[in-house]
Amino acid sequence: MLKALQNIGKYMHMLWIVFSRPEKWAVFRERLFHEIHFIGINSIPIVALMSVFMGGVIALQTASNMTSPWLPEYTIGYITRSSTILEFSPTMISLILAGKVGSNVASEIGTMKTTEQIDALEVMGVNSLTFLVLPKILGAVFFFPVLIIFSMGLSLIGGWLSLVLSELASTETYVVGIRSFFVPSNIVYALSKTVVFAFLIVSISSYYGYYTKGGALDVGKSATKAVVTASIAILIANFLLTQMFLL
């Protein structure tokens, strides 16, 4: 318990330093674009793949479990859209990204730490936390919502494809379903959650990477801890945000 509190304190202190003014804005901008590419654009293939299959399975599960004749067929589209927008895209995809991006960030920073590259930055007079972590956090916070919107669209396409290919529903009823009872604020809710998840994934992974001690084995351990902790943080944050926004 005491160690957990110590970690939280150390994490907060790290964040305090991370959000300092960068030494040079031109370098910061360059690094921000690099991180958007590295963290965001490089994640598009996995997000696309996951989303199409996720949407397909949600639609199939809904269609195959709709046994009551009282339920209209467009319910399939409605449920697919609602569950995708509210939970599956923001939360599931963020959990996948916690694995991909989290391990990547923790191992990159951890390796820099164990090979004294971070010490080299500090000795030169560069604030290593602001230089390394701030562009990653901002890159993720800006680009993860784009990924999630992309994921929502692809999930709905995946759902449509699975229904049409399995002949469980027609295109028309599916489209009617996904347009029914649409609440625009649900998108805002989903994207707000995504911003929080993006922040948690990158900051927690950076924390574990930055405070790595030892060698290659410890970098691996840090990456694992980063993914596990970020995933748990996402689940807890998801619960709290759902309570806050929807109830």
């Binding site: 820099m112 090979t115 590259q117 010490d119 000795v123 030169m124 007079g125």
Partner: protein, 256 residues
Amino acid sequence: MIEVKNLDKSFGDKQILHGINTVFEKGKVNMVIGQSGQGKSVLTKCIVGLHEPDEGGEILYGGNNFTKMNRKERMLIRQEIGMLFQGSALFDSMTVEQNIMFPLTMFTKMSKKEKLDRVNFCLDRVNLEGRNGLYPAECSGGMQKRIAIARAIAMNPKYLFCDEPNSGLDPKTAIVIDNLIREITYEFDITTVVITHDMNSVIEIGDNIMFIHQGRNWWSGNRKTILTTDNQEIIDFVYASDFMKEIRSSMQEKRK
């Protein structure tokens, strides 16, 4: 000049450094020697601010008290420091050119051409002209050390720290690195601090020598006095091998 006053450093209950007092002179190669685990690297990291000394210790750069400075003030001093790390610590995602250009990009308003000229000058100085496009992983250990020296001198530092510059290098390359450190020190009139346990380096380039033993400044002298001192710990360190013991015996016989 760097002054170190009453420097203690502990990690938890374990005290590594005990009341270190020393002066590293400008324009000289100041060697810090001692066996592994005696606190040499901890001392260097305290001096450059990577470790905080225990209360009471002071480090002065040109008379300015580094220990009492805030983070921003330290950053300014650090821009006058060049450091060669034991493992070179080159940024492996950057090319040789980008590595050397990095401090110039971060802290100067030089144009792209001026920066490139400076990079080429530094590369030329370490005999690596034309290697701009290589990545650190494509370079040998000796080349990496030389690139790290080039990066360390890119900003015209007032202070140069070298943490075991010869570790992992063959004797011939080690001599090249030693000579380079000495030449750069004299050429640019900088305060150089070299941490090593390589006696060849000590005899080759050491102007001032400080011997650390059990975390204390055990002995100070130069490359002549280190060979004739009666200090037993120094004798055990310098003449550790049978071969060196034989040399010492023959030297003593000649003196008689």
